[in-house]
Symmetry: C2
Amino acid sequence: MRDWITRNEPAVLRELVSLLAIPNLASDSINIRRNADTLVAMLTRRGITARKLEVAGSPPAVYGELRTPGATRTIVMYAHYDGQPVDPAQWATPPWTPTMRDAPLDRNGSVIPLPDRGGILGDDARLYARSASDDKSPIVAMLAALDALRAARIPLTVNLKFFLEGEEEAGSDHLEAMLRQHAGLLTADGWIFCDGPVHQSRRPQVVFGVRGVMGAELTVYGPARALHSGHYGNWAPNPSVLLAHLLASMRDTEGSITIAGFNDDVRAVGSAERAAIAAAPPVDTLLRRELALGDVEGNGVPILERLLAPALNVRGLDGGPVGSGAANVIPTHATASIDFRLVPNQTPARVRELVEAHVRAQGYHIVHAEPTREERLQQARVARIQWEQGYPGMRTDMDAQFSRAIMKTVAAATGGEAAVIPMLGGSLPMYLFAEILRTPLAIVPMVNHDNNQHAANENLRIGNLRAGIELYAGLFAALGAEWQRSSRSSRSSRSSRGAMTSP
Amino acid sequence: MRDWITRNEPAVLRELVSLLAIPNLASDSINIRRNADTLVAMLTRRGITARKLEVAGSPPAVYGELRTPGATRTIVMYAHYDGQPVDPAQWATPPWTPTMRDAPLDRNGSVIPLPDRGGILGDDARLYARSASDDKSPIVAMLAALDALRAARIPLTVNLKFFLEGEEEAGSDHLEAMLRQHAGLLTADGWIFCDGPVHQSRRPQVVFGVRGVMGAELTVYGPARALHSGHYGNWAPNPSVLLAHLLASMRDTEGSITIAGFNDDVRAVGSAERAAIAAAPPVDTLLRRELALGDVEGNGVPILERLLAPALNVRGLDGGPVGSGAANVIPTHATASIDFRLVPNQTPARVRELVEAHVRAQGYHIVHAEPTREERLQQARVARIQWEQGYPGMRTDMDAQFSRAIMKTVAAATGGEAAVIPMLGGSLPMYLFAEILRTPLAIVPMVNHDNNQHAANENLRIGNLRAGIELYAGLFAALGAEWQRSSRSSRSSRSSRGAMTSP
C-alpha cells in the first residue's frame, strides 16, 4: 500500500490540484456546478455509478454507488466539496491556485513545483489552497484508496455509497430536504464522516458522537429606571441578585444540572465508552496545567467522560458595568447568555419545556419579548427567555456492531495508533443524518489539525494525505469482514454478557 | 414671626445676595477666605463670638459661639459655605450674579428686581446662584432667625455654636483633622445639620441617620484563556457560575445578608423609630407603581424600615457580552461590583473581615491583586477582592433626649407637618462628627428638593427661605426648654418603661 502511494503520489496530487483549482463557494452557482461535474467524472472513472442530487434551490450534492459482490453491508462516505469564503488579500498565494511548499508557511516553507515522482516530499510539506483540507482532500484520498486496492487486487468487503455535499460551509440549508427526498438512495448500514481534523497530537481518531446545542438568553427585571443603591438598596429588587440565585438554582459548581427532569433523557454511558475513555491518552493533567486550572468541574471525572453529559454554560453575563465604570445603582435588568450542550436522547423542545418549568417554579412569570410595564407591575418576578433554535446531539453506541467493526478496522489500519473518542464536546448538526436515515454514524477524519481551516492559507499536510489513503483503503478492505465477525461474536456473547451491557 | 419675616425680607435677601456674590470654590483660596471673612463679620454683627478655624492646608472653617444665660444645653449648627464647581456656559444667568425670578426657569420665570418691601414675592419665586440652596441660604436663615427672635424679645433656650465648613463640596479632606484639633471648642450636647433638601413633597423633615458605604469588586476565575464552551463545557470551571453561587451565598432574594456574623453588629430598631415609620406618609405603594415593581425585597416591610438594615447591592456584573455579542465561550473570569450599605454599629474593617471569612468558607483563596498563574494552578478556587475604603453609618437613637426634643420642637415649628426619617438610605460621612465628638446628630434641612443642587441654575425657593427662618427660630427658642422636659420625663419613666426600650 505504501509503495503504491509513493509511486502514484504525483498523479494523486495532480487530481487534487485540478479539483482545488475550481472555486467552490456554495453561492457561486456556476463554479459549484463545475465542481460537481468534475466529481461525477472522477467517480465515474472508477466505475462508480455517479450523479448529482438536487432539491429546489440547492447547490448539487454528488452521489455515487459502488456495489461489492458478496458484501452484506453498505456504508456511505460523507464529505463536502464547497469551501468557506476567502479574502484573497490575506492569502500568501491565491486560494484557488494550489501551491506546494516544502514546509508550513509559519516555518518559512518555500514554494516548490508539484513533484514528478514519489518520495520527494517530506511528510510536513504542505499544499496550500481553499478546501485543501476542508474537505476536498478526503474525497481524493478515498478515491486513491480504491485505486490502490484495485492495483493490489485487494477486494472490498462493503458496498460503498458516496454523498458529497455542496453547501456545508454555507449552513446546509437544503440538507434536510435533500436527505428526506433521497432517503431511499441514501439508505445504508452506517455513515462515515471524513470532515474535520485528526487529534492535535497528529494521532488519527474515530469519533462516535457530537453534542447538540441550544442557546438561550435569560433576563430578569428590577425597577423600571435605575435607582440609587443607597436610597433603595434592600427594598427595590436587585436583578443581578435574582439572576445569581436563578442561575445557581439551575446548576451546581460541579457542572451538574439541577433542573428537575433535565437528566432523565440522558442516555447512560456504556461499558464500551468507559473502556475507550480509560484507554484514551490522559489529557486532563496536561490541560489543567496549560489552562492554569486548580480544579475542574465534575469531581475528577475525566474530560472525555464529562463531554458525554449535558452542559449548561453561562457564556455571557451582564448586570451593568464593573470597575471604574460601576455606578451606585440598582440596575433595571440583568441578563445571562446561556448555551446548553445536549446529549442523546435530549431534544431542544423538551429542554425548553423543562427549563421554563424550572424558572416558573422559582416564582417567575415567563415572557418571550420585552415585558410591558403592566406585566412588571402585576407579576412578582418576570423572566424573559429568548430561545435560539438549536439541535440535538448524536451518539452512536460504541457497543453497536458498526462501531466495533470501525474501531477494529481503524486500529488495524493505523497500527493501533487511533484514539477513540465517544463524543466531541462541540456541536455539529449530525442528528439530521441519524434522525432521518436512522443509521449509525462515525467520524473518521484524516487532515491535519493545523490546517487553517476556514481561514486564509488553508493547507493539507502531505503526511496526512498519505495516512488518509491508507486509512480509507483499510476501511474499504476490512470493514465488511470485521463487521460480520462482530455480528457473529455479538450474537454468541449476548446471553452471557447481557448483565454488563448498559441500557 | 411671619410678620417679622415679611417686613424684613428685603434685608434678609440683600444679605444673602451679598454672600452669594462671592465665588466659593474651596480651591479658590482668595475668594474662599473672602467668604469666611464675610461670615465672621455677619456673625459678629449678631454678637456672636466668631473666628476662622484652620488646619495646615485647609480652607478656613468659620466658628461662632453665642451663650444663652440660664441654658444648660449647647448645640452646634452645621452648614458649609463652599460650593460645587460651575460651568458658566450651562447657566441662564452667571452663577455668582444672584438673580431673582418670579417663578422657576422651567416654568419660564422672568427676571425681577430684588423687592424693596415684603409680601411682593410668591412662595415659588426663585433666587438663582451657586450655593443659593447648598448651603449659603441656611446660614442666612439661621442668622435671620436670631434677628427675628430678638426683635420679638423671645429668649433663646440653648447655647449656640456655629461650624461653617469651607471644603465640603471638595471632599472634606481636612475635616477629620479640623474636628480633632478643635474638639474642645466643638464640644456640645448635639449637632444640627442644615445641609440637604426637605422632602420631595415639600414637607419639612428631620433625619436622624445615614447609612455608611463600602465598595468591593469581586472577581472569580476560570481558565487562563477563553475556551470553546462545547469542547470544555462542564469540565473547565465556568467563572460566571461560580460567581452566581458565591453571590447567592452572600444574600437572599429578600435582601437579607447571609454572611455569618454580618448582622451581629446591627443596632436594633427602637420603638421610637418604629413609631416614626408608622407615622410617616406611606410611600411604598406609590413607589412600587412608579417603578413598576411587582414585588419588593423584605417581605413587605416598609422602605423606611428596610433602610435601617444593611444592604448588599450588586451594582455591576460582568461575565462577558450577552445578546449579539455573546460568543460560545467559557470566559476567563467574572466580576461583580458590590456596594455594602452599613448601619450602626457596623464598621468597614469588621465587614471586610466577615466577607473575606465567608468567601474563604466557600472554598476560595483570596487575593487582593491579579492572581498569578501559579496561584490559579495551585488553588482550587481563587477570588480577587478589591476593597474601597468606605466609612460607617451613623444613627442617633430617636429615644435619646436630644432626638425627642428636636422632634417636638420641629413639630411645633412646622405645625406638625415635618416627616421624621430614622435614617437615609444613602451615605454621607457624618460618622466623623459622631465618632470624634461623641455627640448626637440630626439633619434639619430647609431648602427645596428641586434646587438643581450641584448642577447649573442652582436656586432657592423663597417659600423655603421663609419656612427655614421660622423653623430655626423655633429650634433656638424652644429646643433647650423641650430638652429639659424630655430629660425629666425620661428620668421619671425609665423604671416603668425599661422593658420596652430597645438595647
